[in-house]
Amino acid sequence: MALRKILEVKGTCVSVPGDDVDTDRIIPARYLKCVTFDGLGESLFYDVRFDQNGNPTNCSLNDPRFAGATILICGRNFGCGSSREHAPQAIYRYGFRAIVAESFAEIFFGNATTLGLPCVSASRGDLGRIRQIADSEPKREMTIDLTAEMIRFGDNEFQASIGPSARDALINGRWDPIGELLEASALVKEQMAQLPYVQAR
């Protein structure tokens, strides 16, 4: 299955501050009542973007200066909590094409990568600088170079790590593993024959 090679992501940025931003924050559970992922983008960060009466808050995602941003800047342990793929799906469908954070929760990271949504980590110090630039120059484009694991932003370069398997999967266009998994069906049957509990009852 030929997938797009994701070598770099270019776009303007918006920062959603805070550490341990969990999956319920990214997409509140009440919006998971659906049988397709369509339309999830509208519910992204719903309780951050809207107050109790449904009026927009002064959150950065509602700030017209950052309209059209495609790179999301976050804090430490982003995406902790649920295994719901609805979270990265909502981020992707809202229009984001990469996330830069200090670190990511593991299940979230895997789910996002499988969608072709790169999650790159930068140091806390660099993130502070990145936020400053993003806030003062909202139209400034960032380039995330996945091959070199570098972020270029204005005149600055920052180290960005993504980890060897996600990097390989994205830059070689094999971030959705289904095609490769399907190739091994004979091996799977062989292995299953060794395990009594998976035999038909």
Binding site: P17, G18, D19, D20, D22, D24, R25, P28, A29, R30, L32, K33, C34, V35, T36, F37, D47, Q52, R76, N77, C80, G81, S82, S83, R84, E85, H86, P88, S103, A105, E106, I107, G110, N111, T114, P164, S165, A166, D168, A169, N172, R174, D176, P177, I178, E180, L181, L182, A184, S185, L187, V188, Q191, M192, L195, P196, Y197, V198, A200, R201
Partner: protein, 468 residues
């Protein structure tokens, strides 16, 4: 050099190395529910793929199901569409489905063990992060996303990087009034909500040797709240006694062979762990959360942290948590008024949880103005409680006794907080908005601590209340 259970089970299930360096891992047992599976089935249809081994997937309905009335159609059309979709998918692809009228429905992590589907030395995946629960049996169990649900349905395998193993020893004797829930809340508090990133947690030591299966499940359940994608306990006689005679447990000669096999997976005495963390059981007290992640917790006797006692890089989180919780730095947590008490969930919705609480609340009553609900984790748990008269003890004490489901653990069914209600909850997450109201407040604690809070109307040291 010896191997850990994790390594042995991994090796027995590893199919091959994938081009990106991850492992294609055989998932022997796949559990599904209504929230994270419909899109996976849709993807299969779109790709024209069948379910490769339909007898290795088991389904039930838990997140969206109302716990107060079971008449269909459900009043929420979205919930109704989801249960119908699950039924349709299971029927079309030939998957065993524990439906509402089977008497076996419940939270997927309660049903799997109860049915004997969860077994030692197996790999288990489910589109739910609390799949780590099944590790209590010495299984390697992962929470997965919907694309991976698709992968497992289509291939019975998934792509995953190998985890490191951290051994967590809890030795000594737990003080009276301290439970499995306190042990895991304490571990998360000490190791951090992301401390387990990249690790599977192997729990052991005297406390785990003595724990029942249900207590082990409570701890393994919350591994993910500490960032560990999987958590497990080596199987032993307690494990085998629990599994013996359950519907899907091996029978006759197979049973003996199974035990031999399970024993062979136990971590070797000379195995090497990537990391070790030691805890002294006698230092653990009843623990309650005060913030908006499960690591933000204190002993019931403690005061909340202050900016001065908090590391600089956590002060922002402290301020954010206190603002949401409407609590003050340095205040005691004890005495904080509650409006709702929730007893249930895949963490603490099993028979022993209700039995233990019933023992304490008999002859007492929920405080005026507190809404208290008790929700069995499965229809099996509900039926066992009824047989023992436990449900009547709860209703006599002023609890609402409900039907099985995820209920107020998360806001996908009618059981929700309203406004900024504060809920004493036996569940696993205190994230902002988790219980259905964006301003709702959750305080996680053991079931007996929930009962104590329900009775007094405020966060209470259950040891003091129930010794009276």
């Amino acid at each position: 050099m010896g191997q850990t259970l994790f390594e042995k089970v991994w090796e027995a299930h590893a199919i091959r190395e994938l081009r990106n360096g991850q492992t294609q891992l055989l998932i022997g047992t796949h559990l599904i529910h209504e929230v994270t599976s419909p899109q996976a089935f849709a993807m299969l249809r779109e790709m024209g793929l069948p379910v490769a081994f339909p007898d290795r997937t088991f389904a039930t309905v838990d997140h969206i199901i109302p716990t107060d009335q079971r008449t269909e159609p459900f009043s929420d059309p979205l919930a109704d569409a989801m249960i119908k979709e699950l039924r349709k998918n299971c029927l079309e692809f030939g998957i065993t489905y524990f439906d509402v009228f089977s008497g076996k429905q419940g939270i997927v992590h309660v049903v799997g063990p109860e049915q004997g589907i969860t077994q030692p030395g197996t790999t288990i995946a489910c589109g739910d992060s609390h799949t780590s629960t099944h590790g209590a049996f010495g299984a390697i169990a992962f929470g997965i996303g919907t694309s991976q649900v698709r992968d497992v349905l289509a291939t019975q395998t998934m792509a995953i990087g190998k985890l490191k193993v951290r051994r967590i020893n809890v030795d000594g004797k737990l003080p009276a009034g301290t439970y499995a829930k306190d042990v895991i809340l304490h571990i998360i508090r000490k190791l951090g909500v992301n401390g387990g990133n990249g690790f599977a947690y192997e729990y052991g030591g005297e406390v785990f040797d003595k724990f029942t299966m249900e207590e082990r499940m409570t701890v393994c359940n919350m591994s993910i709240e500490g960032g560990a994608r999987a958590g497990y306990v080596n199987p032993d006689e307690t494990t085998y006694a629990y599994l013996h005679g359950r519907p899907y447990s091996p029978k006759g000669d197979d049973w003996k062979r199974a035990i031999n096999r399970w024993e062979s997976y136990v971590s070797d005495a000379d195995c090497v762990y990537d990391d070790v963390a030691n805890f002294d059981a006698k230092e653990i007290e009843p623990t309650v959360t005060w913030g908006i992640n499960p690591g933000q917790a204190v002993f019931i006797s403690e005061r909340l942290p202050t900016p001065e006692t908090t590391p600089e890089d956590q002060r922002g989180s402290l301020a954010e948590a206190l603002e949401h919780m409407k609590l003050q730095p340095g205040q005691p947590i004890k005495g904080t008024p509650i409006q709702v008490a929730f007893l249930g969930s895949c963490t603490n919705g099993r028979l022993s949880d209700f039995k233990e609480v019933a023992r304490h609340i008999e002859g007492r009553h929920v405080a005026r103005g507190v809404k208290a609900i008790a929700v069995p984790g499965s229809q099996g748990v509900g039926a066992a409680c009824k047989e023992l008269g436990i449900d009547r003890i709860f209703t006599a004490a002023g609890f609402e006794w409900r039907e099985a489901g995820c209920s107020m653990c998360l806001a996908m069914n009618p059981d929700k907080l309203v406004g900024d209600q504060l809920c004493a909850s036996s569940s696993n997450r205190n994230f902002k908005g988790r219980q259905g109201s964006p301003t709702g407040r959750t305080v996680l604690m053991s079931p007996v601590m929930v009962a104590a809070a329900a009775i007094t109307g405020e966060i209470t040291d259950a040891r003091e209340l129930f010794s009276r």
